[in-house]
Symmetry: C2
């Protein structure tokens, strides 16, 4: 039976070079990605339904073994200097990590903890003597370790951590201590079973004075696996997912370590027992240290995208195979994709996955540039701040997209999607925490917004009084425009011009970008105004913030949306194959217009869409779904997930 | 520290009588609900983290034992006639079942399969001799059974089932047979381990002629648990959740059963071997049989609501306890609810849960009326059709709400929400399939829409030519109004009148209801027009449908939204306590306006909200969240979930 939806353009005739598209998506890390895919296949990952019933202790053991095999195979050290056995390729290390996301996600997180967080902290917060002493063993997994930041009472507010490290000048030692239950390190990966050392984030006290949060290396187990004296280790127990990772709790009872255990890149205790940092401002020092977390956020963003790709690869293939209902009087039932609701459920999510992939590639490039020589400056400056903000934003956007996409794909596969063998069980359970760890998404959006407002304040600052006056007048003018809706009326007149192809303008990339940019500018300006108004009125700053919080989050969201659309557009531009480019261009439009459709309430409120044009957006999204449907399977095949890893029986012909 | 958000009305002073509110929610089934709560506590349900790692075979054994205990305790037979040991209280049986939703959901589903689906089919599709022979044993769980409808290749399209039952007049027997793999019965609860008999839905062939789908009782295991000859049973294996239920696959190889095995309430094979049914139209016969499924859908709707209540009870309590960040310079950090984004995340979902609860109560009343005397007519008529449509719609709405609410609550609890002990792990995994089983939600929405359009056609049919002309003219007029946006301009003028309390109108229940009703009428009329246009143009009906599907689903959705708001309003009206009523009234407004906010794109497109008024909706939702926040804990406590069942450590003070 022919597809139900007759395409209304030539797009159906476009031929997708799947290999070429895959290369376009993989570059410049084609080799690294292919090697990782092969490594995962070689590990011989168990069938998902078997893995789902493995007792947790066996699962943990298996994941440790896999991680060791990957390490021995050279698959995990790409991001470290070659002198310690690494690959000296920061960008490649992220590409490799995110490719692990198509395999077992406990393995991914185990590797993330060992090589990204623990190894990364030693590399970026430590100095030469820490590197020489530990990095080689970390890379081979001879020294399994933890990244002990979160406390039971303190998740997102790291500056308020309770664990203390007090310098004892007499013994020339550091004393690490957990004063309260809420100060216990919690949810720490690698802690419950395998970790032998931990990077512990604590309040450093030197000379009786608190110096803010610093990281200290603390041995937690001996080689025989026994807890070190003064260290109490608990198991966090069963979790929603990721049960191959041994999350635990760590408490310290006056545990003594040598002064050298302080990771002293940004602050040190001198031989005289004095505290010294070249970064004088404690806040700045703190955020500089935290800046090294950027790599973890980019890694999780990528893992989320990989999980989305996997879910879509299964659901899209099933959607072209599974028959349900059908035209009356015909023998064969229609396939799921013959129904518009099915195309609507999967194709905008597929488009957004491409957008995120493109944005993620931009993050990897930025990271590679910032950290590529392992010697970034202490004041990373504006580029680095922009990278951090973009990483925070894309991590939030990507991981929420993962939750949404995995759920949508599961539902699109009906009851079959509920069986563990078809992978959604583990995908759902394992990815669920992505929106929380490496920074809670809501808190990350606030970080993004803070960056935007800082930029804004800077701009304000640069304006002379005349410019400032003009700015305020512009705002007032804009408000007036909105209230009288003159702009809307003008647009309505334009819309009234009869035209056969009345959504032509909607497919114009410049028009789409302009809509996204205008929205961002407008929302950010609005937040700035509301904040200023509250402050001017003498309100308590916290209350002002609490009151504007939803607006602040919107500002961050629409900023990220603009980044995503620009990134996807960049991917389209890079594509040389005319057929492929046409398909990608439409996919990019689907991504853009699906977002405009979602937020069309806002665009109408602000006079940027008339009611008629808003309705045209909906029908154009429908049309794009219809046009892209014949290419859907090719578009997921280009994600290059090997059949062995796709695994789900419903993704294959019987 | 005082709450950050100063309430802007007197609502904060309102005193909630939690016991009274609980009674209002529970009535008229307070006793049944309380008994069920106590029964669940008495079962001594295991801690969630223990349950989460139980090997599946042990879990299945445990769930069977619990179900048997409940049955022995009289907790599961309420919906059956007293002469077979039942309680003769159909409405109470649903109230009891939905209360099971605050306990282990495998137990709920196991009971649903045994007593609702299997027992319900024997009761409603069978006749006296089936009842006498089986019901007593079904009620005690002496005879565990299955409801074998779904096939591997046929989930939603039950009319296309492949399994056949052929009448052999020589032996006076029925021969049940599975012709293909896609005709295998799949995902059947109680099949993999415990079931001894199955109600099998098959194509009945009598006298060489196919008579459509009919249900036949087929023994599948002997008392020793061995498969009967000709019956092949497979285990579906691990699932995302509900692993205490033994889902399996059944295939039949020419299995012979006596003629009496046919459940013959709506069609029989006479002693002469002739097929006879008083319902001549095969489609009508089929849908009459399927009508008995209504009870299952109402049950799952209720279970979804209970799961939402549980998730919200945990997250709301945690939101008032957990501290994070805080006003600079103060020692104590703020609690999560001090942040607007947190209130926004939880309170509209809480409001919607109340709306669903109220609508569900209406369904139970309707069901009790329709099935209360266990002797409903064969042509159930309009009331019954309306009940079926409402049940389908509220099941879809409720279960999607569950998925959304459990996810939102998990994220609102951060990393702690990821630990199995805090219940979201099982809640997520177990409820995920609610949107698929007992009718896929998307398919159910289509069923709802079909009912709406049928009503519409009836209305059309009743109109004389003059009325018809007026109707069409009205539509055109309306379209013109929208295009010129005259209505919008008028509303804008109204909005421009300065008023201190500019959202006063928004809180008017009549205004809210009118918005919802207008939207429903408009969307349904639009679908009818588009369908008619397509048919008039000679398009293939399936193509016409496929093309309008998204609009059809919207029609169903907005219809259900109207039902929900009316139901919630009814609950407010029933409340006699003035303080409580005021709080519920605001909660109802929050529910209504959160939905208007979600769909404000549509309301603007159709000239029902100006941009300014649309913005006012957003700020009113914010304000209502602020005002209701002091009552949030009371509003979840009124759900009456015993501490033992709430279980999650984060829901309690340390």
């Amino acid at each position: 039976m022919a597809p139900m939806s007759a395409p209304t353009s030539d797009l159906a005739a476009a031929r997708i070079d799947v290999v070429g598209l895959r290369r376009l998506l993989d570059e410049p890390y084609e080799e690294v990605r292919d090697e990782t895919r092969e490594r995962l296949v070689r590990l011989g990952v168990l069938p998902p339904e078997t893995l789902s019933v493995l007792p947790h202790e066996e699962y943990r053991e298996l994941v440790l073994t896999w991680a060791q095999q990957l390490a021995a195979d050279g698959g995990t050290g790409l991001g470290f200097p070659t002198e310690y056995g690494g690959g000296g390729d920061v960008g490649g290390s992220i590409a490799a990590f995110e490719t692990l996301g198509i395999g077992d996600l406990s393995l991914l997180v185990k590797c993330g903890v060992q090589f990204g967080l623990f190894g990364g902290a030693v590399l970026h917060l430590g100095t030469r003597h820490h590197h020489d002493k530990y990095l080689a063993d970390i890379l081979t997994m001879e020294l399994p370790g933890c990244f002990a930041m979160t406390e039971t009472g303190h998740g997102s507010n790291v500056q308020q951590l309770e664990t203390t490290t007090t310098y004892d000048p007499d013994a020339d030692q550091l004393v690490v201590h957990t004063p309260t239950v809420s100060g216990r390190k919690d949810y720490i990966g690698n802690a419950a079973r395998d970790g032998r050392m931990a990077v512990v984030f604590t309040q450093l006290v030197v000379g009786g004075e608190s110096r803010g949060v610093h990281a200290v290396l603390v041995p937690i187990r001996d080689v025989a696996g026994r807890s070190r004296p003064g260290v109490t280790i608990e198991d966090c127990g069963p979790k929603t997912g990721l049960n191959g990772v041994d999350n635990g709790r760590l408490s310290f009872d006056q545990v003594r370590v040598p002064r050298e255990a302080l990771l002293d890149r940004f602050a040190e205790i001198t031989d005289d027992g004095e505290y010294f940092s070249r970064i004088e401002n404690p806040d700045k020092r703190f955020f500089t240290m935290l800046g090294t977390l950027v790599q973890g956020r980019i890694s999780i963003a990528g893992a989320g995208i990989s999980a989305s790709k996997l879910a879509l690869s299964i659901a899209v293939r099933y959607g072209e195979r599974r028959r349900q209902f059908g035209p009356p009087g015909e023998d064969a039932e229609a396939v799921l994709f013959d129904f518009r609701a099915h195309r609507r459920r999967l194709l905008p999510r597929l488009a957004r996955t491409y957008a995120l992939h493109a944005a993620q590639q931009g993050l990897i490039d930025g990271l590679h540039e910032a950290f590529g020589d392992f010697a970034e400056s202490e004041d990373p400056g504006r580029d680095r701040r922009e990278l951090e903000a973009a990483a925070a934003g894309i991590k939030a956007s990507s991981t929420w997209h993962t939750t949404d996409t995995v759920q949508g794909c599961r539902e699109a596969c009906g009851g079959a999607g509920y069986l563990a063998e078809n992978r959604f069980a583990a995908l759902k359970a394992d990815t669920d925490v992505f929106s929380t760890f490496e920074g809670d998404n809501t808190v990350l959006l606030q970080l993004v917004a803070k960056g935007l407002l800082t930029d804004y304040r800077d701009e304000f600052g640069d304006l002379d009084p005349l410019g400032m006056a003009r700015f305020v007048a512009d705002q007032v003018f804009e408000t007036v425009i909105e209230k009288t809706s003159a702009r809307q009326l003008v647009e309505r007149l334009v819309d009234a011009v009869p035209t056969r192809d009345d959504d032509a303008g909607l497919l114009d990339r410049e028009y789409q970008l302009e809509l996204f940019r205008w929205r961002e500018d407008h929302v950010v300006a609005g937040v700035a105004r509301r904040l200023k108004r509250g402050i001017d009125a003498g309100q308590d700053p916290f209350e002002v913030f609490a009151d504007v919080q939803d607006h602040v989050l919107t500002a961050a969201w629409v900023h990220i949306e603009r980044l995503l659309l620009e990134a996807f557009d960049g991917l389209v531009q890079r594509c040389g194959d005319p057929d492929l480019r046409e398909v990608l261009d439409r996919l990019c439009s689907l991504h853009a217009l699906a977002e405009v459709e979602r937020d069309r309430g806002w665009f109408q409120e602000h006079g940027r869409l008339s009611g008629e044009r808003s309705k045209a957006v909906i029908s154009t999204v429908n049309r794009l779904c219809d046009e892209l449907r014949p290419h859907a399977v090719d578009l997921v095949d280009a994600f290059g997930i090997p059949d062995e890893l796709l695994a789900a029986p419903i993704a294959f012909d019987d």
